[in-house]
């Protein structure tokens, strides 16, 4: 009996401390004024722009909303986030579409994005604080691990590893990145020449990721939102077509959605002055790319409004 009493006391105390700490963290998490999490909070809870960009860091660094806004005479916001891919974008879209339907959704896809690999759903941790309030994304977040709902029983778990960031972003004012509507500019030039990659290892596609991509497009169409899929430029030259991009092209064709593949565009690929690193355009090139991309996408304009 003594043993069970001791264990019970410890469990009750732990749950109480976890509840309190979780409540404090939740309070401050949603009061952040800057930082990458603020952008997610803004995207999920406030974004009401006409054009929304979805994708990873390549989206966040490649699409300048102001340029699109000028071309279309509409408002625009970039929801792209470092290290977050199709599942993140689809979750954001589900949350946003519950309260707001943009006119155009632009989904940026990356090479290898649908590759089946261990831990490839881990990045969904960035959406754990929204698990409680948005039922529609729970089934996707649950894919992180078999015991995700068990872990989420603890109130501090969604804020794991976040407390120093939350503390800083509660104090720190809005970042420069936020002032340009989710677009995060990069300013360096890469210091190595481009590689010519003749063959990459074959990989297996993750059917869940492929299906999510298809659902994402369907969701946009169901909500009357024009959708375009784009692969932005890469620095290195790939001589072989990527399995993910082949699949994207196939699905876009089936769903009658525009797919623009700039991944090997000669105006960018291989140009050291235009890339910050091998994956990301720098600010000048991002502006140039956004202008080109927005011009091309104007063919969609008849579908908008």
């Amino acid at each position: 009996m003594v043993f069970f009493r001791k264990i019970l006391i410890l469990v009750v105390l732990l749950l109480a401390v976890d509840f309190l700490a979780g409540a404090v963290l939740k309070h401050f998490y949603f009061r952040q004024k800057s930082g990458i999490d603020y952008q997610t909070i803004y995207s999920v809870e406030k974004a009401n722009e006409d054009i929304l960009f979805f994708g990873s860091s390549r989206a966040a660094h490649h699409y300048v909303p102001d340029i699109f806004a000028d071309k279309y005479a509409m408002s625009a916001y970039n929801t792209g986030r470092d290290g977050n891919y199709i599942l993140y974008g689809y979750c954001l879209a589900k949350c946003i579409f519950e309260r707001h339907q943009p006119k155009l959704a632009i989904i940026d896809v990356s090479r290898n994005e649908f590759q089946r690999k261990e831990g490839s759903y881990d990045y969904l941790s960035s959406l754990l604080p929204f698990y409680g309030n948005y039922e529609s994304i729970r089934d996707i977040i649950d894919k992180r691990s078999r015991f995700e709902p068990v872990k989420l029983f603890f109130h501090t778990y969604p804020y794991n590893s976040l407390f120093p960031v939350i503390a800083l972003n509660v104090i720190r004012e809005k970042s420069k990145a936020l002032n340009i509507k989710g677009y995060i500019p990069l300013y360096r030039s890469i210091d190595r020449p481009a590689k010519v990659i003749s063959k990459e290892p074959d990989y297996e596609l993750d059917p869940y990721l492929v299906d999510t991509f298809r659902q994402f497009i369907k969701k946009c169409k169901e909500n009357g939102i024009a959708v375009a899929v784009v692969c932005s430029p890469y620095f290195d030259k790939y001589e072989q077509e990527d399995a993910t991009l082949i699949k994207v092209k196939e699905i876009c064709s089936e769903e009658s959605v525009t797919f623009l593949d700039y991944s090997q565009d000669a105006r960018f690929t291989g140009n050291q002055k235009k890339f910050d690193d091998y994956n990301h355009l720098n600010n000048d090139a991002a502006k140039e790319y956004s202008a080109i991309c927005s011009d091309t996408l104007r063919i969609l304009q008849h579908k908008i409004n």
């Binding site: 003594v2 043993f3 001791k6 006391i9 410890l10 105390l13 732990l14 401390v17 976890d18 700490a21 831990g119 881990d122 941790s125 992180r144 691990s145 078999r146 015991f147 068990v150 872990k151 603890f154 501090t156 778990y157 804020y159 794991n160 590893s161 976040l162 407390f163 120093p164 960031v165 800083l168």
Partner: protein, 474 residues
Amino acid sequence: MLFNSIEFVIFFIVVTTLYFLLEHKYRWFLLLAASCYFYMAFVPVYILILGFTIVIDYYAGIIIEQSTGKKRKSWLIVSLFANIGVLAVFKYYNFLNDNLSFLLSRAGRENPIPYLKILLPIGLSFHTFQAMSYTIEVYRGNQKAERNFGIYALYVMFYPQLVAGPIERPQNLLFQFYKKHSFDIDRIFNGLKLMLWGFFKKLVVADRLATYVNAAYNYPENHSGLTLIVATIFFAFQIYCDFSGYSDIAIGAARVMGFDLMKNFNRPYFSSTVSEFWKRWHISLSTWFKDYLYISLGGNRVSVPRIYINLFIVFLVSGLWHGANWTYVIWGGLNGLYLVAAIMRDKLLAKYKLEIPGAQTWAGKSFSILFTFLLICFSWIFFRAANVDVAFQIIRKMAKLEGPLYTTYPTMFFCLLSMVMLLVVEVKQEYFNGAFSFMNNRSPVVRYSTYLFLLLMILLMGVFDGGQFIYFQF
């Protein structure tokens, strides 16, 4: 099944509860079944390999005990051959083939021997060494051969230490399976506290440091010398907390059920010599090599140059034990060289009756600890680098010390905070052991606050998506 998973927490609670509910005579069977399940959670079919060596060693033990002379020796050789053979096939075959391919390519020829497409069974080196210690001890007459096949299988497969040690000796573990363990609250809490500290070391310190170390070591060409130095120091703490964290969880889990496993780590980074480091680091392996290889090579009874050679051999083999890669061989060789150099220095000092000035002062001892730590850190470069070329590339970059330090605010914050918390505890244990105790304080307020603090730190700072333990691959 990983210790740092929800699956293990459920498994541990279920197995421990059943263990105490069952009658003593059925407990070994429960533990054996649980251990099989635990092992099969990785790659189920590999249990057949384990089964193969268990059967051979079980019968070898009985035959060795019953026979004399050549037969006795030949059955020891059969047992060793089976165990080392399994290691050779699964761990070293492709490595040897790689080297053969390299040599043949130098001569302009192709290697006709095919590669094996097999995964290394988890913890193979650990349970193989534990099995070998059994037949060697039976051969030496220090251990009676085990007649109960199930108990012998459990000795090799006991789940807390099956995949990453501590590598037990039969004299310490086998008899414990026959002992009736009562439901002892103090012992259970003792074990749970050790497990809690192990989880803290693994999830909060090791896996947190791993984020920085992996970023630097996986792409050393993108990082400065300063970053690589910091990453190497972080790796020293990462591997310590990863492995000693595993050992703490293993020893704690066994203790909850009433088993005493040997201590595997004793705050190794407070060692003032490399020799002392090896008495504090992975103790169960160091003593295994001392008992079964170093002594077999002649121990300290041979000439001084032979002692040096033997030590060097032991460390080379120890390096190879860790992995089939030249990086591990160099790592072992470096540690062997450190040790030989230290012995030579001590002999010279003794011969000429010299003393290092200030060696016994506080500053002198601190310097020795720091110097030993740096030597060990240097050897860790080879342990962590993907291959020998990368290791030398890292060393060249470190020597130049050019470029900025890679830092991201939360990563660096968590790395430093976790290391500070670890050091506070370790310094207290090393130098102020009789002083204030947190986990064992007489005041329940302090005790429970400490448990809650550690649990909260695990929830707030623990890396839950972290990978497996580094030593599983060995």
